[in-house]
């Protein structure tokens, strides 16, 4: 039984440690917030300019001046601070964020990441993704193992334009978990329940060491 979206988010949440400052991307990464252990203290950053992001507001708490990087309304906490986008990306670029969880279109075995642009389609822009992968200490990608058409997304080399080169440390897919030694290679370290190594091999183009 491969993992579903919530399982993948739950697995990603295990990468968080006490005292971590974390930036969560849009989509499945947002769900990670639901699975942060109650025994650890984690602070969420929103790159538009906020540290200490709270949950979505109740209907009567909605504030147009309080949104996250996905433009969703959110709330503040007792620890919250606000700052400019320049200060926010200084924080990111300067290596002060411990962990970022992001979605992806493709990841290469060396840790290259593509998640912002499909040639021939209208490009929406990279937003803060390039800054995050270049600056954050540890980058965890959460994505489906294969595309909807069944094509592998873990590749020898990314075919799409890159968001960053040698920037990914871990990939969590519906089939399992890969650790990446940036620039060197990747290793399968966990399988989702009921998934076999052969299942993974069949859907993976990237070369990887099996350590399960």
């Amino acid at each position: 039984m491969p993992w579903d979206r919530n399982d993948m988010a739950r697995r990603a949440a295990q990468e968080l440690e006490d005292g971590f400052y974390v930036n969560l991307g849009i989509g499945i990464p947002t769900l990670v917030a639901n699975y942060i252990g109650e025994d650890i203290d984690v602070t969420l950053q929103s790159e538009n300019g906020m540290l200490g992001m709270g949950p979505f507001p109740y209907d009567d708490e909605v504030d147009a001046d309080l949104i996250n990087a996905g433009k969703q309304t959110i709330t503040e906490l007792r620890r919250t601070s606000y700052f400019s986008s320049a200060d926010s990306f200084g924080m990111i670029r300067g290596g002060h964020i411990d962990l970022s969880v992001l979605g992806a279109m493709e990841v290469s075995e060396k840790g290259d990441l593509a998640n912002w642009m499909i040639p021939g389609k209208m490009v929406k822009g990279m937003g803060g993704a390039m800054d995050l992968v270049a600056g954050v200490k540890r980058v965890v990608v959460v994505m489906d193992h294969a595309s909807k058409a069944g094509d592998p997304k873990l590749l020898h080399e990314c075919s799409l334009p890159l968001t960053g080169q040698q920037v990914v440390d871990m990939v969590i897919t519906n089939l399992g978990v890969f650790e990446i030694d940036r620039g060197k290679g990747m290793k399968l370290t966990e399988l989702a329940p009921g998934v076999t190594l052969d299942d993974v091999k069949a859907q993976t183009q990237a070369t990887f060491e099996a350590a399960v």
Partner: protein, 234 residues
């Protein structure tokens, strides 16, 4: 030297010309200078290069300036919320320069702070790095990005005093403070003009030196993604 103007139209008088560069604060629709964007549209100025993280939506914010074809070029990091933008871009009617969001923010800060260029790791090995100078520091490769300035910056703040000291509110701060520093002229719209001396001088986000003109605006503050949770029932 009066900085407070009666309305947005008056505040832009004499400042606009065809082919000008305008920085516009805000992230998404949050903290955008709604009133000044409308007034800029009403001047009829053409061929504007707009520096703004986003391009508004079809019927709000910079979307208005796209409808009227007053924008020649956008310098942005994300424009995914605007159909008219997509149409004009695909038809070749609009130029577009993408910057990573943090690079865009830093370029605005640099432009205001007299820094013509800085190095960053962001974008190395991607299309963003193409044609840019590469340089190694301590064994790592970085690319050169340049400071940005504008003929006019339009900014949204929460409060101002008559000297132009500004305070922003929550995440509506975003790009506004840097853009306020990088405009040859900076015009600000606020929700409230407060008496001089009523702001805590330790908590002023933008000192008045960066602000030439101020208006009190009317703000719809449209929300893009109203995301809520249910209240637990007892």
């Amino acid at each position: 030297m009066k900085k407070i103007f009666p309305d947005a139209k008056a505040a832009l008088e004499g400042l606009t010309f065809d082919g000008m560069t305008v920085m516009s604060g805000g992230f998404g629709l949050c903290g955008i200078p709604e009133n000044l964007i409308m007034a800029l549209r009403d001047t009829g100025v053409k061929d504007i290069t707009v520096i703004s993280n986003n391009a508004g939506v079809d019927d709000f914010g910079l979307g208005f300036l796209l409808q009227t074809r007053q924008i020649k070029k956008m310098i942005s990091s994300y424009v995914g919320e605007n159909k008219e933008f997509e149409r004009q871009f695909l038809a070749g009617e609009l130029e577009l320069e993408f910057n990573p969001q943090g690079t865009l923010a830093e370029r605005c800060r640099a432009g205001g702070a007299g820094i013509p260029g800085f190095y960053t790791k962001t974008g190395v090995g991607t299309v963003i790095a193409e044609g840019k100078e590469h340089k190694d520091f301590n064994g790592e490769t970085y690319i050169l990005e340049t400071g940005l300035a504008a003929d006019l910056s339009i900014v949204k703040a929460w409060k101002a005093d008559e000297q132009g000291n500004l305070i922003f509110r929550k995440t509506a701060r975003n790009f506004n403070p840097m853009m306020a520093t990088a405009g040859k002229i900076t015009v600000v719209e606020v929700e409230e003009i407060v008496p001089l001396g009523s702001m805590d001088p330790d908590c002023i986000h933008t000192p008045g030196i960066f602000v030439q003109r101020i208006i009190k605006g009317e703000h719809e503050k449209r929300i893009e993604q109203r995301t809520i949770r249910e209240r637990e029932t007892a």
